[in-house]
Symmetry: C2
Subunit: 179 residues, 2 copies
C-alpha cells in the first residue's frame, strides 16, 4: 500500500512566496516513481485558531473543539509529511508550529521532511523545528531541501531553475519512502 | 526618567498556568525599589491574528492593518520587556512568536528578560527565543527566571514558594535597569 504523504505549507500571509514553492513541490511529486501518494494541505484553508484546547494534547487526546477533532483525524490518516517552511526572524512560523502543537500522538514515529525557503533555505527555522520534532517523535529525514532566493530559484511558470534543488527533493522523497 | 517595562504573557489558552505566574510577577515588581515602571500585556486581550501584513516588517513599517499599527505604537512606547513564556514541545508558543514577528525595528536595542514556566523552566523555549531575539536585536539579559513544576512553586494566593525564584527575578530586574 502506498504511503499517504501530506504536503503542508507553513505560511498563511497574503503575499506568501511559499504558495509558489508548494505548487512546484506538488508538480514534482506527481512525476515521482514510487509508492507514495501526495495531498496538499494549506493551513490557510484549515483556519485553526491559536491553540485553545483546555488540556495539553500530550496529556489527553479527548479534544473539546471540532476543529481539533477534524485536524486530528487528518493527521491520523497520514503516514508521512513534507513541511514547506518559511523562516521568520531565524525561527519557525507561528502558524506551522501552532498546527503541530494542537496534536501529539498523531505525529509519532511518522517520517517527515522539510522544504525550506527564503534566506539561507530557512536553515534556522528548520534547525529549531528539528528540535521540536525530535521531542514529539516525528522521524525527521536527513535530507532537507533549501531554496534560498526564491525568485532566482523559480521561474514565471513555477518551475525551479536549479537542477540540484530537484535532486534534493527526489532524495528526500526516497528517504520518506524507505522510512 | 523611569524605564517603561512591558510584561508580556505568551499564552492565551483557557486553562493557562501562565496567568498565575503573571500575577505573581506583577505583584513582585510593585515592590521593586528602582527606576522601572511596569505594565502587563495579555496577548489574549490584544487578539492579534496570525501575521497578515503583505510586507515583511523587516522590509517596511508601513503597516496596512490597524491592529499592527496599534501594536507597533505599544512597543514603540516601551523601553524594555519581560516575556513570561511557556514551553510547547521543546519550543516557543506560537502566540508569543507571532506577536514578535509582527514588528521589527520597534524591538531593536531594548533589554528583554525571560520568566519561563513548565518543564525545566521552559529552557528549550527560551533557548530558541534567544536565537530569535539575537536576530531581531533585542538585548537579552543573562539572568532568566525558571519555574519548573508550577503548582509546587506557587501557592493558592499566587505567592511563589521558593525564595531563589524571587531572587532570580530581582537579579533580572537589576540587569534590565542597568542595560
Amino acid at each position: 500500500m502506498n504511503k499517504r504523504v501530506k504536503v503542508i505549507l507553513g505560511s498563511v500571509r497574503s503575499e506568501r512566496a511559499g504558495i509558489n514553492i508548494a505548487e512546484w513541490v506538488m508538480k514534482e511529486v506527481k512525476e515521482y516513481q514510487g509508492h507514495l501518494d501526495f495531498e496538499f494541505i494549506d493551513l490557510k484553508d484549515l483556519g485553526l485558531p491559536f491553540m485553545d484546547e483546555p488540556m495539553s494534547p500530550m496529556a489527553s487526546d479527548k479534544y473539546v473543539h471540532s476543529h481539533t477533532k477534524k485536524w486530528s483525524q487528518t493527521i491520523k490518516d497520514s503516514d508521512a509529511f513534507i513541511f514547506i517552511t518559511p523562516e521568520y526572524n531565524h525561527g519557525y512560523s507561528p502558524v506551522l508550529k501552532n498546527a503541530i502543537d494542537f496534536l501529539f500522538k498523531e505525529w509519532k514515529d511518522k517520517p517527515a521532511g522539510f522544504v525550506g525557503y527564503g534566506g539561507s533555505g530557512a536553515r534556522g527555522s528548520i534547525r529549531q523545528l528539528r528540535e521540536v520534532f525530535n521531542f514529539i517523535g516525528l522521524k525527521v529525514m536527513e535530507e532537507q531541501v533549501g531554496i534560498g532566493k526564491i525568485w532566482e530559484a523559480v521561474d514565471e511558470k513555477g518551475d525551479v531553475k536549479k537542477e540540484n534543488i530537484r535532486g534534493s527533493l527526489l532524495t528526500l522523497l526516497s528517504q520518506i519512502e524507505e522510512n
